[in-house]
């Protein structure tokens, strides 16, 4: 997995389109929090959830599966149970995604290996919103121990 600071910074700086697999339309769910946060920080969000297929979430069309998405996807962000991740990882490889990102509490090591063997970046058991706020500012305003020590301004 590529969970170190250098790799996370590279992923979040290089890739701008995030397919959020398992995105909920309910405002108080963590997946909605994370997607709304990333959208407001300039990322293109592509909702993937069969339950809302064809509807709009956060102003974006929701697809039933990754295979239905017509546009190129950089990051596949997974809000699903650990045991359900492997087929999503396979699809991520098939559609040419650059990174498989398993959310906090999602930690499928088989999927991690599969993604890395296909030359994708792979992040496990991390929240995309929390890591973005940790690296680029925001998390440090709510007293979280970010682990970031630096003599350079945040950019």
């Amino acid at each position: 997995m590529n969970n170190d600071l250098h790799a996370l910074r590279h992923i979040l700086k290089s890739y701008r389109t995030i397919a959020v697999v398992g995105l909920s339309a309910e405002w108080h769910r963590p997946s909605f929090f994370a997607a709304k946060y990333m959208q407001s920080h300039g990322y293109k969000i592509v909702p993937v959830n069969p339950r809302y297929a064809g509807q709009l979430i956060l102003g974006e069309v929701c697809y039933a599966s990754l295979r239905d998405v017509a546009q190129p996807i950089d990051v596949v962000d997974v809000f699903r149970r650990t045991e359900d991740v492997l087929p999503i990882a396979e699809q991520a490889v098939q559609i040419g995604a650059r990174c498989l990102w398993q959310q906090l509490g999602v930690n499928n090591l088989e999927a991690d290996v599969l993604a890395r063997e296909a030359s994708l970046n792979s992040v496990t058991n991390r929240c995309v919103k929390i890591e973005h706020a940790r690296l680029f500012g925001g998390l440090n305003w709510v007293g979280v121990n970010t682990g970031i020590l630096s003599a350079r301004r945040l950019t």
Binding site: D4, L5, S40, V144, T146, R152, R153
Partner: protein, 426 residues
């Protein structure tokens, strides 16, 4: 590439503060402002919904205060922290965030007097009952647990009882009952003891003491370890939609810093004991030198303890750094030094102790600890005055106890002042 794990000396200077994004200022700017502008109505809504991180109003968060929060969290090896206006405010917030009427607390008997009063009197008014137990026996904690117990509270090193808590053993007792162990780590400071690494779940500090170190500024800290399973069924306030913050589920949304977010958005926001940015800045000036100071405090205190132990005018000395202290082995196991605090009795009892205090030349008679200056006090008539005789003894405060918070002056000068004051007390 794995991330560097920095040492406490480095964290004490750098953690939480990177150069200011707007100006490049290297030292920490003081953001002395009550409020922060929104970019748009949508931005405001996102901030209030906690969907994006940002500053709204300094009672909730402030960029200067946040540096102190992150720095102390880093020094404690914690996940996140919240600062408060005083140590008592920190303790109140830590408890009030998870407790409600009908709940029960098991607490060490040997606590700072204000903490005893808060538990025995103030929280009791709101239907929260506390059982006090002998902090030196982890079985006593186990025996006091009830089905409605929701927190275990103790000091890592008791002030001024100098009683140590076997943190790992008591954490095990608490966890076996599905409740968190909250530890007041004020006296050791994060340099000498890290309760979270030993199994505690939440640490509180009076930052007024060693963290600030200069005796100028009040402040407190609550730090969360991030490992407690708040979804074990005993803390619906952590898992159910928050009535205090429009339906947010704190544990689900913020995970391992969910307690800290709830503490901030419910307790700090509502009770309002926020730390001022100026105070946070002043405390941080002290934190940068904490590693150096704690070493010197420990060295000087050991010198004072040995001197008192050998002095025929002294009845008893209580300092865990001394090899014959009953908990010396435990001290060596879970601390990196016995702190600058010690207690002793002057032969002849209370009136000679009082005369000793009144005869000191530069040692200050006052009720604070952790200052650069050496401080002396008589706990039974000051910090523990609200307790009755039985409660005082349970708190480890015999009537003849003199407390010394050994400062950073020259050791020989401190011993000279002690010697002349002991002589005057005869």
């Amino acid at each position: 590439m794995s991330d560097r794990k920095f040492h406490p000396e480095t964290l004490a200077i750098h953690a939480g503060q990177i150069p200011d994004a707007a100006t490049g200022a290297r030292a920490l700017p003081i953001y002395q402002t009550s409020s922060f502008v929104f970019d748009s109505a949508e931005h405001a809504a996102s901030l209030f919904n906690l969907q994006t991180f940002g500053n709204v109003y300094s009672r909730l968060s402030n960029p200067t205060v946040a540096v102190l929060e992150e720095r102390v969290a880093a020094l404690e090896g914690g996940r996140a922290g919240v600062a408060s206006a005083s140590g008592m405010a920190a303790e109140t917030m830590a408890l009030m965030t998870i407790l409600q009427a009908g709940d029960h607390v098991v607490a060490a008997g040997a606590l700072y007097g204000g903490s005893v009063t808060m538990l025995a009197v103030s929280l009791r008014k709101f239907g929260i009952e506390t059982t006090f137990v002998d902090a030196t026996h982890s079985e006593a904690f186990a025996a006091a647990m009830r089905p409605n117990t929701r927190a275990v509270f103790a000091e890592s090193l008791g002030n001024p009882s100098m009683v140590l808590l076997d943190i790992a053993a008591v954490a095990e007792v608490a966890h076996a009952h599905g409740v968190p162990l909250i530890v007041d780590n004020t006296v050791p400071s994060p340099m000498l003891c890290n309760p979270l690494a030993l199994g505690a779940d939440i640490v509180v500090h009076s930052a007024t003491k060693y963290l600030a170190g200069h005796g100028t500024t009040l402040g407190g800290m609550v730090i969360e370890g991030g490992k407690f399973p708040w979804d074990n069924g005993k803390y619906p306030g952590m898992t159910e939609p928050s009535a205090g913050y429009h339906g947010v589920k704190f544990y689900e949304t913020f995970g391992d810093f969910g307690f800290t977010m709830r503490c901030r958005m419910e307790s700090l926001r509502v009770f309002g004991a926020a730390l001022s940015p100026m105070s946070a800045w002043q405390i941080l000036q002290g934190v940068e030198t904490l590693p150096l100071r704690m070493q010197k405090h420990c060295d000087n205190a050991m010198g004072v303890a040995k001197y008192l132990q050998d002095d025929p005018r002294v009845a008893w000395v209580n300092y865990p750094g001394l090899p014959d202290h009953p908990q010396h082995t435990l001290m060596k196991r879970q601390m990196r030094g016995a702190s600058g605090l010690l207690a002793f009795g002057v032969k002849g009892g209370l009136h000679r102790g009082v005369k000793f205090i009144e005869s000191a030349q530069f040692m200050s008679h006052l009720v604070n600890i952790g200052d650069t200056r050496t401080l002396i006090s008589h706990p039974a008539s000051t910090t523990h005055r609200q307790l009755d005789d039985v409660q005082q003894l349970a708190a480890g405060v015999p009537p003849d106890m003199v407390r010394i918070s050994v400062g950073l002056e020259n050791l020989d000068d401190i011993l000279w002042d002690i010697d002349q004051a002991l002589a005057a007390a005869q």
